[in-house]
Amino acid sequence: MKRSTIRTLEKFNLPIVAAGFLLLAPVLTVQRTTDFIIFCIFVLAYDLLYGYMGRLSFGHMLYLGVGAYAAALCAEHISANPFIAILTALLSGAAVGLLLGPIIVRTTGACFALINLAFNQVGFFLALIALAEWTGGEDGMAAFFDTVWMLNFDNRYVVFGFSLFCLLLVVFLMRRLTGSPFGILLRMIKENETRAQFLGYNTYKYKLLAFVISTTVAAFAGALTILNYTYVTPSFIDTTRNVEVIFASLIGGAGSVFGALLGGMSYMAISNYLPNYIQRWEMFLGIALLLLVFRFQTGIWGFVVARVSGTDAEKDQ
């Protein structure tokens, strides 16, 4: 493979992603592929903060859960129109991001990770106990949606197609965001925030913006999860599930849209199929993580890019 191949891949990213999932659907079943797609959206949301801005969150399930619960509550109390439910989820995700962001984005490193975890725990408690009257507590809540514009979301092909469309939308958005001056600024903040301030940027403002975009897109993934499963329980926002998205970001290669997609796919493949063969499969996840940390820090995509650039460099000599 040559560097030009990678450039072609990046240029035609949307058709390639679409084709990839369409080919995958008959192999994995449609419902499972939909799961993969939604998880990839979540990984993309996460990677904007972790991969680009360098802020590791241990509490991102909260924002996914906010979207899921917002969509379900909207379906129950306001409107069963799925698009209104999704819009409610997006607004809720943005609102939570705006509410918590001013506290959270001031921190870095371990503090950033743990403060997210703390809020995630609070959210879990709210869904499980404090707001049980609304959320159905441990049993969770079901959500049923109307058929709008001939889109019947009980049909899994419709959910699949719609999710894929949403993924393409998010990939497009993320590529625009990360290919803009804003994207460069996020990478600068990751490397040396003080220096970015000395280029005249109020980094706080842009960190908050990135955070709110991330929580909103995570809530989007949450709303799609509801469309796919038609129910939500507190287990959706269980803090222990954060490891999934962290792992996916690492495995694919943090800080790249393709990396996030590959990571989401790889993690879902491992967690869906490895248990068929090995009962306690998590151990192998741990071993894979160790390998990543010590050997492949740039993830699958980073490895590919490095190999390609490496062979090109050899040719140049």
Binding site: R176, L177, G179, S180, P181, F182, G183, I184, L185, R187, M188, K190, E191, N192, T194, R195, A196, Q197, F198, L199, G200, Y201, N202, T203, L209
Partner: protein, 258 residues
């Protein structure tokens, strides 16, 4: 000829625990001036720069910039007002290509195009922006390395990139913190030439350890010692000043310039 007062500190002090790093410093800079600040290691020069540029606030005292009290303003606000600095240990973004380092400075300086949507969603590499970047890189002499990853640059080239970053921001006042430190002789010659070409175009303040280099460059030299501004004046007079010679070279006047 120097014009109006552009940057001024009034009785600025800063201590870290027991140590008083900057002790009641009064300093004035006029528009168009090139000034140097010298002093032995630990004299408080860099701390003073850090206070001027807003890296941290002073314990007491006031900073005035372009007639406004900027003491409580953040660093990025001061940069937007035109106060730009470089760092003693070169500080550029190693993980980005050279061009990407510059683009944000160019975007920042482009006051005509303040479009938030374009900043967030527009392309970072428009041909117009790249042209400005290339012109700036040309000026510092590293235009041929625009596509290189910054971590692959030599230390001297990184220094040139940092100066390019500062210039791309179109500063009113440029503060250079030991721009010659850690460079080889040919690199020093390059940077000296660059600074000489800059001094006619903008207001410069240079901290330097190698004072012999400064004498031809600046019109005024200030000497810091143990956090205090002990004297200032014409560079040649300053270098003959017995007090300066004592703090710089100790009682023994025979050792030479470092």
């Amino acid at each position: 000829m120097p014009g109006d007062m552009i940057l001024e500190s009034r009785e600025v002090s800063k201590s870290f625990g027991e140590l008083t790093a900057v002790d009641s410093v009064d300093y004035q800079l006029r528009e168009g001036e090139s000034a140097g600040i010298i002093g032995p290691n630990g004299a408080g020069k860099t701390t003073f720069f850090n206070i001027l540029t807003g890296l941290f606030p002073p314990n007491s005292g006031t900073i005035l910039f372009r007639g406004r009290n900027v003491t409580k303003m953040s660093a990025d606000q001061r940069v937007r007002m035109g106060m730009v600095r470089t760092f003693q240990l070169v500080s550029v973004f190693d993980t980005l290509p050279v061009l990407d380092n510059l683009i944000l400075a160019v975007v920042r300086a482009d006051t005509k195009n303040r479009n938030v949507i374009r900043f967030i969603l527009g392309s970072s590499h428009t041909s117009q922006m790249e042209k400005v970047c290339m012109d700036t890189l040309e000026m510092v002499g590293i235009a041929d390395k625009s596509r290189v990853l910054t971590s692959d640059l030599s230390y001297g080239d990184k220094r040139k990139l940092e100066i390019a970053l500062a210039l791309a921001l179109k500063p009113r006042v440029l503060l250079l913190d030991e721009p010659l430190a850690g460079l080889s002789d040919p690199e020093i010659a390059d940077i000296m030439e660059l600074m000489n070409s800059l001094k006619d175009r903008l207001t410069l303040v240079i901290i330097e350890h190698k004072i012999s280099q400064l004498t031809g460059l600046v019109s005024r030299l200030s000497v810091m010692h143990e956090g205090r501004l002990i004297t200032e004046g014409d560079p040649d007079d300053i270098l003959r000043d017995p007090v300066v010679r004592r703090v710089y070279w100790g009682e023994d006047d025979s050792s030479d310039d470092t």
